[in-house]
């Protein structure tokens, strides 16, 4: 007589390492594991080791609710949806927020970052200022992208640490950037629920993790009516602008001012006003 029956369910475990933070995404569903492949692809980590956070993805179907997807964080239910695409965007958002929360040892700035040779250029700017378009265009002009959206600064050494989040490109920009050959929709995940492409440039090459001090900090302002102009700006003003673009200034308070004054002291500070991306690239290349 058979006393026990045992069914072994395959468990897919995707491991990630972003600086000191390690996390793992686990699921018993192959399709959900595949769904996660465009999520932080350059931070995948092969070895199974201690994870600070475990995200579990579950899928179940019944005749009443249809297919339900769930995100559990360390075993606790955090999100529930019946859209697979929404599952991806929510997971990306939860992972990004938790990762930033774990990386408070770094000063975090809302900025793009590119590098050519030893020259790292920071591009602090708010949403809708053309940061993504400019960063992508610079990568077509011999620059390497370090970050599109988030830059980490080591408070002690003032080095820039790349944060490899996907480029989040909205529907209206996708067509424009595809026409300009700046993106290829195949290198990312198109999320129908929020009409956003999570684009990963150079998925084949790991992003440089080498730390470099910024050479220049360029504040972006984009408007069709602007004349194209790159002009030096005062370091004290740039410092205030960087404070406004910080994600974790409240963790640092007074120390934030010391970090940022240290950063601007050693960097060239500019304001870039442009009405088109080609001229923006040309002006930045002159730095």
């Amino acid at each position: 007589m058979k006393l026990f029956s045992c069914i072994q369910i395959a468990m897919y475990s995707l491991n990630y390492k972003l600086q000191s933070h390690r996390f793992s995404i686990q699921t018993g569903n192959r399709k959900l594991a595949d769904l996660c492949s465009p999520l932080y692809p350059n931070s995948r980590f092969r070895h199974n080791s201690h994870a600070d956070i475990i995200y579990s993805l579950k899928m179940r179907t019944d005749s009443v609710t249809g297919t339900i997807y769930e995100i559990l964080v360390n075993g606790k239910k955090k999100y529930r949806t019946n859209s697979k695409s929404e599952l991806f965007s929510q997971l990306e958002w939860i992972v990004t927020c938790n990762t930033l929360s774990h990386l408070r040892e770094f000063f975090q700035i809302h900025a793009g970052a590119v590098v050519k040779g030893r020259k790292v250029i920071l591009l602090p700017a708010g949403h809708g200022s053309g940061k993504t378009t400019l960063t992508l265009s610079l990568t077509r002009n011999h620059y390497r992208c370090l970050s599109d959206d988030i830059v980490l600064i080591d408070p002690k050494s003032l080095m820039v640490i790349p944060f490899p989040r996907s480029f989040l490109i909205k529907e209206d920009a996708i067509k424009k950037l595809t026409r300009s050959n700046l993106i290829d929709k195949r290198n990312g995940y198109y999320c129908r629920s929020d009409d956003t492409l999570y684009f990963n440039p150079d998925t084949g090459n790991k992003l440089s993790t080498r730390k470099i001090k910024p050479y220049a900090i360029v504040e972006l302002k984009h408007n069709r009516r602007f004349k194209n102009e790159l002009r030096p700006v005062s370091k004290s003003q740039m410092c205030i602008k960087l404070l406004r673009q910080s994600f974790n200034v409240h963790d640092y308070k007074r120390k934030a001012v010391t970090i940022l004054t240290g950063l601007v002291r050693k960097s060239k500070c500019y304001s870039l006003k442009t009405n088109n991306v080609d001229d923006a690239v040309r002006l930045i290349s002159q730095i």
Partner: protein, 91 residues
């Protein structure tokens, strides 16, 4: 508080300064607020020591910057009023 050329401004003890080549950042440790000053305003700030009147500060600024404006005292009064409005000065 009337701010005129005889006024002797003094900075609050809770304001810390980070100097830069072209100005400075003031940090109010009580309110957790930061303010940027250009190089002229930064020089005036360092003179707000509770010992110099605005008239005396104007003489120091004139020696340091050779300003083009004839109304240095008036310009300094304006800046001191901004400091006062931002509650950076002792009342």
């Amino acid at each position: 508080m009337e701010i005129n050329e005889d006024f002797v401004p003094a900075t609050k003890g809770c304001i810390e300064i980070e100097e830069l080549d072209d100005g400075c950042i003031l940090y109010d440790t009580e309110k957790d607020e930061a303010h940027s000053l250009n190089i002229t305003a930064a020089s005036i700030w360092t003179c707000c020591d509770g010992k110099h009147s605005i008239k005396e500060i104007a003489t120091i600024v004139e020696e340091r910057f050779e300003p083009k404006s004839k109304s240095v005292v008036e310009d300094i009064i304006k800046i001191i009023k901004v400091f006062s409005k931002k509650e950076l000065l002792r009342s």
